[in-house]
């Protein structure tokens, strides 16, 4: 049950008929795993904390460096040289002491990822490499946990949501076959600061929609944003029946019925 203080704190959510007290209670009861406390993870975590998601789990193996502070806004000047997971936890609790935050200052191996995904209501991935995204995808597929994935580089970004609870949802590997590490990353290429802010905030929005059931999440749609020209593209994304990552899970789904 939400306290009087919480009813006031979250009143601007509760005013929304799509969220209401029921949706806010669902947020309070939810546990969200955020992989990467960088440019995308920062605003995603901050909005999820402010929005009253009851339990956040943040995993990041890195330490805050000076060049991170241009865009990774959950970290502050006094976070330099601290583990990002610990710095994020400290600032999230300062933003909202009403929630629980677990800091996991390491890259999760497959076993731990599996456990954390199983315990999570939704997983958010904003890491800087494909192998960790594919690992998150596998853990979400095997535990039936929705995955909100965004990526940004330079002036361009992509976002989509994958929900293995739905038989026709694509998975991350339907979009990106698990093969190469060709793509650029921010550490080597650069990224315009508010772009990761937009996309990380969008990830938090997707999480709130998934938890409360409000509206239509980006399942089966990939959105591209070109910050140079201020243009969005929406592309349909279907499940690949030959996808090596999700085909086996869908098959076992059917056999259960």
């Amino acid at each position: 049950m939400l306290s009087d203080n919480q009813l006031l704190r979250y009143s601007r959510h509760i005013f929304l008929p799509e969220i209401d007290i029921q949706g806010q209670q669902a947020l309070a009861d939810a546990r969200v795993l955020v992989l990467g406390a960088g440019g995308l993870g920062s605003p995603a975590l901050m909005y999820l904390a402010a929005a009253g998601v009851g339990h956040l789990v943040v995993s990041d193996p890195d330490v805050v460096e000076l060049s991170n502070l241009q865009r990774q806004i959950v970290h502050r000047q006094d976070s330099l040289d601290q583990l990002k997971a610990d710095s994020a936890r400290r600032h999230l609790l300062a933003l909202n002491p009403d929630i629980e935050v677990d800091a996991l200052p390491r890259a999760l191996d497959d076993d731990e990822l599996q456990q954390q995904a199983a315990a999570a209501t939704v997983v958010v991935v904003g890491t800087d490499n494909f192998s960790s995204r594919h690992a998150a995808n596998r853990a979400c597929l095997s535990t039936g946990t929705p995955l909100v994935s965004a990526a940004a580089i330079a002036w361009e970004a992509q976002i989509s949501t994958f929900d293995p609870r739905l038989a026709d949802s694509p998975c991350f590997a339907c979009l990106y076959p698990d093969s190469n590490e060709q793509a650029l990353n921010c550490a080597e290429t650069g990224v315009v600061s508010p772009l990761v802010g937009m996309l990380g905030s969008y990830q938090a929005l997707e999480v709130i929609k998934l938890i409360t059931g409000a509206g239509t999440p980006l399942i089966g749609r990939l959105q591209l944003f070109d910050a140079r020209h201020g243009e969005w593209q929406t592309l349909r994304l279907k499940r690949n029946p030959e996808c090596p990552a999700c085909a086996s899970f869908v098959a076992s789904d059917t056999s259960r019925d």
Partner: protein, 90 residues
């Protein structure tokens, strides 16, 4: 390339998004395409113009008529084909 007068059906519209839009000489093309072929064949045809067009490599993502497509998907005259790079930064 045909004249701009009529949107010929014996062609496809090719769009380049994100970084490709900046790197290639044009953000969009009207490319002659009289029979069905694959996404990969179209990409190789355009890349064969050389110079900057060689940036059309096989690791790019592709959408045909606003739907994500694989390299072997058929492209028919009149289709809209968009190419864009993979992104993983966070």
């Amino acid at each position: 390339m045909t004249s701009a007068a009529e949107p010929s059906t014996a062609a496809v519209t090719v769009l380049f998004f994100a970084r490709l839009r900046e790197e290639l000489p044009q953000p969009r093309l009207h490319w002659p395409w009289s029979e069905a072929g694959t996404v990969n064949e179209l990409r190789r045809d355009i890349a064969a113009q050389g110079n900057d067009w060689a940036a059309l490599t096989e690791d790019l993502l592709v959408a045909v008529n606003q739907e994500m497509a694989g390299p072997e998907q058929t492209v028919k005259p009149g289709d809209e084909v968009a190419f864009f790079p993979p992104v993983t930064g966070g």
